[in-house]
Amino acid sequence: STIVLVFEAPKSFEFAIQAGQKVKVGNRLGDV
């Protein structure tokens, strides 16, 4: 199963993840 998130954010938004990284519920994905 997969979850796709699509969202609008300011251009200053930065992801804090890497492709292939394992994440858990509540982990930071990104921030403005």
Binding site: T2, V4, E8, Q18
Partner: protein, 434 residues
């Protein structure tokens, strides 16, 4: 071999013309096929026609009855296991797929009746600390891909994209039009609630609460006899764990009026407090923001569209949570195929995420549009949404053409926010086996 390699004379012959011509034809055919793979076909309305594209392995898998296989898989995994076998079986499963048995809520493995039951296990309160970032992971899994959306195309893997409109569905002005997808708008009307949502106050049991009161800036009510309860936000994850999704049902049910009993009033106040808390986290005045479009295809100046894809492997915790404070305004259920969504398939099957069955939850957050799309797969075809009991996925029957969806609107779910409000990390639903 050495003698043959060194002593055999090399003789050069001109290729027959026919062989050369065949070679050229083969090269042209391969080029054409590669172009066709990348070409986007559109229908008369300009919408992309979604087709199965990929190498031969993909077409072989596509010929299998995946939906029936998925349902059979679900049935087998719902069979009750002997009590003596459960601890051994689940420990073996946990060992094979790397599950952490120490973090599950019910540690007594004999209490999980089937593998499906164990698969949909809950975690202990506090097992997942929630970061204070604006957006957090909604699930346990692996990041497959992320980035910005350019020209309304989402990158599935490097070089392979799919249409954002195909993923989320296209808004049609006239749903009765034969050209439009067969969208069924399922409204949950409540005139009283709708009226409230248009104004800046809520009327609860004859008591008017202004948004300022609900948002916590004042504690007095117009009647002076009742005040809303504290609007302090509960610990999001704890809230989700404790409630098991079921937030107070008073204002949530279709057609139910605000004429609630005293007992219900407490629940109602909790609900309003929760909604107000979400509104505050979204940094907005809900009644003023409710008219914003959620099509997702236009963004405010200075903003961009971003995406993230998270893959949940078989051993992962399979419930998903809210990634931020947001309001879900509608859901679109796309019945589709149930291909595996493993990285292997994602690299080979184009349009994988728009071919598979999925539930697009569309709404808004503090920066504008927000969408979350749980996508089913062969082993986990059932998608549950806690606040949408009417949703049924992976049902028997032939799937309609890709792009067709049924829609539910959550406008009556909250009198304040014109949708289903969710706090960060609040449990939203999950994937079940089969």
């Amino acid at each position: 071999l050495v003698t043959a390699w060194t002593d055999t004379p090399t003789k050069w012959y001109p290729l027959p013309i026919a062989v050369g011509a065949l070679l050229l034809v083969a090269i042209q055919y391969r080029k054409k096929a590669a172009r066709a793979e990348k070409e986007v076909m559109v229908d008369e309305d300009g919408n992309e026609v979604i087709k199965l594209k990929g190498p031969w392995q993909v077409h072989v898998i596509g010929a299998l009855p995946l939906r029936n296989m998925s349902r059979l898989w679900g049935y087998l995994n719902s069979l009750e296991l002997p009590v003596w076998f459960r601890p051994y079986g689940f420990r073996l499963y946990a060992f094979a797929f790397g599950c952490n048995l120490e973090e599950i809520e019910i540690e007594d493995l004999t209490r999980y009746r089937s593998l499906g039951d164990f698969f949909y296990r809950k975690l202990k309160a506090g097992a997942r600390p929630v970061d204070n970032a604006v957006i957090v992971s909604p699930a346990d899994g692996t990041i497959l891909h992320f980035g910005t959306i350019e020209n309304l195309r989402v990158e599935q893997v490097k070089g392979i994209t799919y249409s954002l409109d195909a993923l989320l569905g296209v808004e049609h002005a006239d749903p009765q039009s034969p050209q439009s997808p067969s969208s069924t708008v399922v409204e949950f009307p409540n005139d009283e609630l709708s009226a409230v949502a248009h104004q800046e106050f809520a009327n609860v049991n004859g008591i008017e609460y202004s948004l300022d009161q609900l948002l916590g800036t004042s504690q007095s009510s117009t009647s002076g006899t009742n005040t809303p309860t504290s609007t302090t936000a509960p610990s999001p994850f704890k809230h989700a764990q404790d409630s098991d999704t079921d937030r107070p049902a008073v204002p949530r049910k279709h057609g139910e009026s605000f004429d609630a009993s005293v007992e219900q009033e407490g629940q109602l106040q909790d609900t309003l407090a929760h909604d107000a808390s979400v509104a505050r986290e979204m940094g907005m005045r809900p009644a003023l923001e409710r008219k914003r479009s959620t099509s997702g295809t236009s963004v405010r100046e200075g903003n961009s569209l971003f995406f993230t894809v998270i893959y949940l492997a078989p051993g992962d915790y399979h419930r998903f949570h809210s990634p931020t404070a947001w309001v879900v305004e509608k859901r679109r259920h796309f019945v589709g195929e149930l291909f595996s969504v493993s990285p292997y398939m994602a690299k080979r099957l184009q349009n994988l995420f728009v071919l598979n069955e999925r539930v697009a939850l569309l709404g808004r957050w503090r920066y504008g549009f927000f969408g979350m799309v749980p996508v089913g797969a062969t082993n986990v075809g059932s998608i549950k949404i806690n606040f949408d009991k009417a949703l049924r996925t992976n049902e028997r029957g032939r799937p309609p053409p890709p792009g067709t969806y049924t829609e539910a609107v959550y406008s009556a779910a909250s009198p304040l926010l014109n949708g289903q409000p969710l706090a960060p990390a609040e449990e939203m639903g999950g994937f079940c086996l089969g």
